[in-house]
Structures are given as C-alpha cells and as structure tokens.
Symmetry: C2
C-alpha cells in the first residue's frame, strides 16, 4: 500500500464529501445502522475470536474488557448514530453574512476539516463512533485501531464502508490501516491529511506530535483534581471524590489528586477514608497523614496519572493555593470544586485553566455522551480549536466566501468607494 498515493486519493475525494447534502450523509448513517443490526452475529463472532486471542496472549484485564463488543455496546453505538442523524447539520452553517458594499457579500460558512487520521485504542466501538462523527461532519477518516481488535475492526469497517459507499459516499470517505508501520506512513502524509487525532498514552501522543507536520488534536494527560473547599457540603464531597476516583479509574477524566482546605480536613479526611474503605489507596502529604491511613506522597505523585485506584491527597491553606496547585500540576482537562459558596465556585471556575471546571459533581462527567454530543472523537486539553470532549463542532472549520461584481481594492484605498459593513441576518 502506497500511503501517500492513497492519502492523496482520499484528499481528492474529501472535496466530494464536503459538498454532499445533509440528506446523503444522514441516509448513509442510517444504512450503516441497518447493516450493523443485520450482521450483528458475524460481528460478535469476530469479536469472540479477538477476545480468545487476547486471553491467550494474557492481555491485561482492562484491555480485555475494553475489547468486548456485545449487544450492549452495539446498541450504544446505534443509539449514538441515531442521535447524530437527528442533530442539526454542522456543515453549510452561515456563521456570518455581511454586506461589505453593494454587490460585495462576505459569507463565513462552516465546512469539513477534510481528511482526519484517527488512531485509537482497543475499543472497537470507537471505530463506529469516529466513523459516524466523520460522516455527519463531511470528513474523510483514515482509521487505525488497536491490533488486539483487528478482527472486530475489520468486519465493522467492511460493513460500514460497503453501506456508506452504496449510500452515495465517495470511495475515499474512509480507510482502515491494519499494520503498526502504517502509523508512521500516515504521519508523513502532511500534504493530504489535515488533522491527526491520537487516542492513547501521553507518550504515544507526544510521539505523534514530534514525528509529524500534521496538526494534532488530543490530550497529553488526564491529571484531574477535586478540591474540597472550606465551605463544602461534606455529604456531597465524599461520594463525589469516590466516584471521581473509582467509577472508572483508567479513564482520563478520573481524579488523580484530592486537595482539601485545611479548615475542612479534620472532618472530611477521616470520613472519606472510612467511606472508601479499601477501594482507594491514598498517598498523602504530611498534614493529611495525621488524619487518615495513607502512604506518604512524593512530589512526583502530584504529577502522575495513576490510571488506577490511587489518589494523592494534599491539604491547602486557601482557594488560591488550590488553584495554583491545579494550574501547575494539572493537565488542563477537568477539575472540580466542592463548595456551597457560589462566589468561591465562580472564582475557581474563572481561574482554573482547564477545559472543564466543575462545581459539586464528579469529574467523570467529562465525556461527549454525558454532555449530549452523541459521541466524541476524543477530549482536547489544548486551548485552540476545540477544548474538552470533541464532537461534531470540533470536526468542522470554516471558510470565507466573498461574492463580488468586479470590485478592486484600489477604489477603497483611494476613497473612491467606502465599505458599508451591514450584517445580513
């Protein structure tokens, strides 16, 4: 496979994809739903093979769990696709329509980014979600899934590809890369690929960024914090901290560090330790060691994404100390304050430099489905373009169309003509 040629052909098709009507794209999504439902037994059989191999290879249990694609996962996928069909078209939206002068009209209109390379981990449902988001947003997708899900990904891709092209999508609307070496080839295709979305470890994302000229949207780390303020309702704080840490410890939006205001610590930390029992391993600073059973935290603990049921704990003297700690050690993903004081919450939300700033709820809510986006291609911790869970909005850009009738700039520079600047609603 000549990646540069393939990518160039996909790029050429991306312009066809960009001009398809909403109807064609939605019908393609419906055809994809239909084919997944019709062939679910074959999909599950392929997944069984992947699962058997994973067990033989003794892959870690979290990976084996993520690999599973069953009736429950399929119906989640289909429900997300139905949501996407129902959603407003992200394309052809006029963000601005301005009369610059008579017969000179500027229209800022949304359009797809073009060709998006997505590299994702073991979950086969990610392939379905990402493909669907790209179809709805008019982007071509080059997909690379985890090798442990190879059989499931292959049948899912084949079904979606056949349904999509039969429903009128161009041949290049999607492609599947099946070998690891293909990632490095993809990274060289900066003339054809507009964006790479890597999902995986921090190290992997850094590798992608260092080895490609293609813009990368992704997150580097998920070091999320819960700060229990002096005005916290401890009845809320205890379950929120436990949920943020344990509901799915391997997720990027799980909390890694608990910050507690000194005035709340005496009451809160023992209550938390009792409620958590053995479900959380605490690593505390000196002050918190006196209040709960925990191992001593090193400074490096506060910059670690455990991906496990370990929580570092630190007692702080003020809101400002908590904010400073989060901005310094955090990864600008999602951070939560527990407080009943609305002004304190407002200041926390303004000063914490993260994509998600929460009051009185679990950090685990940071997710495209839970935000009502239908699906997500990932979560961005960058501040440009898209931030937080990335749904359809993050997959479109815009262009400026200017319709004239012979106008030249000399006439405006000389003062012979002047701009009118009237926005057209």
């Amino acid at each position: 496979m000549d990646y540069k040629k393939t990518a160039a052909a996909i790029k050429a098709d991306s312009f066809k994809m960009a001009s398809l009507s909403r109807k064609t794209r939605d019908l393609a999504l419906q055809a994809m739903i239909d084919t997944l439902s019709a062939h679910k037994d074959e999909i599950f059989a392929a997944n069984e093979e992947d699962l058997k191999q994973a067990a033989l290879d003794q892959l870690p249990m979290p990976i084996q769990n993520r690999l599973k694609f069953d009736d429950h996962k399929l119906s989640d996928c289909i429900s997300g696709m139905k949501d996407l069909i129902a959603m407003e078209d992200p394309l052809f939206q006029e963000l601005l329509k301005r009369k610059l002068d008579d017969d000179l009209t500027l229209i800022k209109t949304t359009c797809p980014i073009g060709v998006i390379g997505v590299i994702f981990e073991s979950r086969p449902d990610a392939l379905v979600q990402i493909s669907s988001l790209c179809v709805k947003s008019g982007n071509c997708a080059i997909l690379k899934g985890g090798s442990e899900a190879a059989r499931t990904n292959r049948i899912l891709f084949d079904l979606l590809y056949k349904a999509g092209t039969q429903a009128g999508l161009p041949k290049g609307f999607a492609a599947l890369i099946e070998d690891r070496a293909g990632i490095d080839e993809l990274l060289k295709c900066h003339e054809s690929v507009d964006l790479i979305i890597p999902r995986g470890s921090n190290q992997f994302v850094q590798y992608i960024m260092a080895n490609s000229k293609i813009p990368v949207m992704g997150h580097a780390d998920g070091i999320c914090h819960v700060y229990v303020d002096k005005d916290a309702d401890l009845q809320k704080a205890v379950p929120i901290v436990i949920d943020s840490k344990t509901q799915y410890a391997a997720a990027c939006n799980a909390a890694e560090t608990l910050l507690v205001h000194r005035a709340a610590a005496d009451d809160f930390l023992p209550a938390l330790a009792e409620a958590a029992g053995s479900s959380i391993e605490f690593r505390g600073d000196t002050a918190s060691q006196a209040l709960m059973a925990c191992t001593p935290a090193k400074d490096s603990d506060f910059e670690t994404e455990y991906l496990d049921t370990i929580l570092s704990v630190k007692i702080v003297d003020s809101l400002q100390d908590a904010v400073d700690h989060i901005n310094h050690y955090g990864s600008h993903h999602t951070d939560c304050i527990i407080t009943e004081n609305p002004e304190t919450a407002q200041r926390f939300m303004s000063d914490v430099d993260s994509a998600g700033v929460y009051q009185n709820c679990s950090t685990r809510f940071a997710d495209g489905f839970r935000y009502g986006f239908g699906a997500e291609v990932g979560i961005s911790t960058g501040k440009l373009h898209a931030r937080g869970p990335v749904g359809l909005d993050g997959l479109v850009t815009y262009k400026y169309k200017l319709f004239g009738n012979g106008q030249i700039v000399s006439d405006y520079a000389s003062g012979a003509r002047s701009f009118k600047f009237e926005d057209i609603k």
Copy 2:
C-alpha cells in the same frame, strides 16, 4: 530579564485579565486612545528618528514605507480601537447552556486564550492593533516588534501600558521584548505562553514552529491565485487581476499566479498585457507565451511568493485543472475565480481548500479591516481554530462549566438516574 519568571508572572495576571468586566477593558481602550492623541507629537518625533536611521541604514524602500507612523496611520489605529470598543464583548458568551439533569447544568462559555506572544514586522501600527485586540479579548500580550521601529514601538508601548494599568488592567497585561534574543527565550516559555502569532517571512514562521512547543497560529506563505474562467466577464477580469497583483505587491494577499481557461485566453491575455503595460512582469507557460509578451515560467515560479510585481501565468483546460493547480501549488490563503456562471463559482468555492474563496473581486480584500473585524492580529492559513483574517474571534477559546449538586456518574451508569439533555435558550 529572566523570561521564564516574567512569563510566569504574566500568566498569573492573565487570570485577573480574564475576569475583568467588559467595562474595564473598554475604558482601558478609551484611555489608550486618549493618550495616543495627547502624545502624538512625541510619537511622530520618535518615528522620525527611526525613519532617519532606516534611511542611513539604507533599508529597502518597502520597509521604510511600512515603518512610517504619521497622522494618517494614527487616525486609522484610533478608528480601529473605537470600532473595538463598540463591538460586542467576545468574552462571557454562552455558546451552549444545557440542563444535563435536575440541578446539573452545563455552560460552554467563551474565555481568553491567556498569554499570547506576537512577533511582528516593521509596522508600528501593528503594535497598537495587536495590543487593542488583546485588551478587548482579555488576553495578555507579549510583543516583539521589528528592531528598525524600536523607538516608535517603545513610546507607543509606554503610553499604552501606562494608560492600561491606570485604567485597571493588571501589570502583566502587556510586555515588550526589545532584543532579538528575546524571541528564543519566549519560545521556551511553553508553560506560561499559550499561543505564538508570528508575522513575517515563511522561513521565520517555520523557524518558530520548529523551535517551540507553544502552538503557533500564522500563515506560511501567501500564494494566491486568480482564475479567469471561460465564462468570465473580461471587463471585470482585467482590473481585478491588475489590482490583485499591483495594489500592494508585497502583501500576502496579493496574487502570484494567474490561471486562464483555454477558451478565454486568446481574448483575455492580450487585453491584460495591454492594460497592465509595464506595471507587471509576466512569466508565462508555453501556451501563454504565444499570446502575450512574457518571460518563460519555470515550475518553481508557480510555488514562489514574489512579493513583487511579477505574475506567473498558466493556461488550463478546465475548472478542475484550475482547482487542482491551486490546491497543489497554493498556500490555502485566498483564491479567486472570475466567472459569471454561479454554478462554476459554487464548485470553485467548495473545492478550493483555502481560507478565502472569492468570485469576481480582488484577492486584496482578504484583510481584517476589509472584513469589518476592526483589526486583525494576522491571517491564518491553518484550518484549525481560526482561518483567514484573525480578529477577536480567533483570540478566544471556551471552557465547559458544570454546576452540580452532588451528582456522581455511578448513578447514571447503573441506570438509577438518566440524563435529560434540555437546551436552555
């Protein structure tokens, strides 16, 4: 000067800047207008010194011209600042307000990017424009201007800085770097600086991108095209091509290449050559050499930004050939079709992968002022975040605020609770 420390202090102030009211930011802009007006003689005197030195140093005339800061430039700056004051606040805009469940409300709200480093060329008016845009959008600005404008930049900065801080902006709202070495120091401050906007040569922008972990927004090149279609009105085409090339040949939005449909070439090229006279040096492909006086174009001509009154010319067989040429050789900046056929124009605008796609008007319209943005910090040829002329919109990002009352994800995962997803208008 310890750049990392200075940048960290500015970063700390960026959170104060982010929470200022619109009123404070607008009053600061008004104070800046007042001080510029009150001290204009001193500004012009400093500029005279810069101009004298530039003449002694025999700097190229285009640079000497750009360096000039006179009554005309000042009144343009002030008019842009007044426009900014009148504009809607780009901050605190609710892009989405959604009830996820009872007492669980998601608000997607605009906020500043934070700390922006801007490196600009000889025009001192750029300092005023960029500072104003950053104040209106609540960003802190670290500015580095051209050394040939050092005296003008220094007095402009001192006046703006004093007026801004007296009007209530934090001390770190702006800083001026005065030595070339400061650029490399700035590039190392990825922990404090959120975005670099370089304005300068392609080579310079590439250097910045290769030497910093900080995201860069800018344009690499300005290779803009005018395509004269077979359905063109040649009466419009001639002045548009001449204006696109000659109205300001050193600008990034000046045309570098003219593409002409074979069916229009016989009539058009001789007419263009006659109208242009000696104002344009044409470099044509073999077919166009037969129709007009021109030197032969090499393939490299079509990938050259001349920054001069030179225009490469190529005859093409179809709209598709023109589109393919533009997407291959262009820089995704601004490209224009001259045609009376609306369907042809629509296809050109859909298939040309550029920030600006024009019909029947000069490429020189690609500019923040001419789009009615008040000012611009630059023009982006990237497709992510901001595209085309970048005004206030490109200087803000957003964050997701989630207000809860103790909600945890376990309850939604188990089915004990379910999301309501009601958008609040």
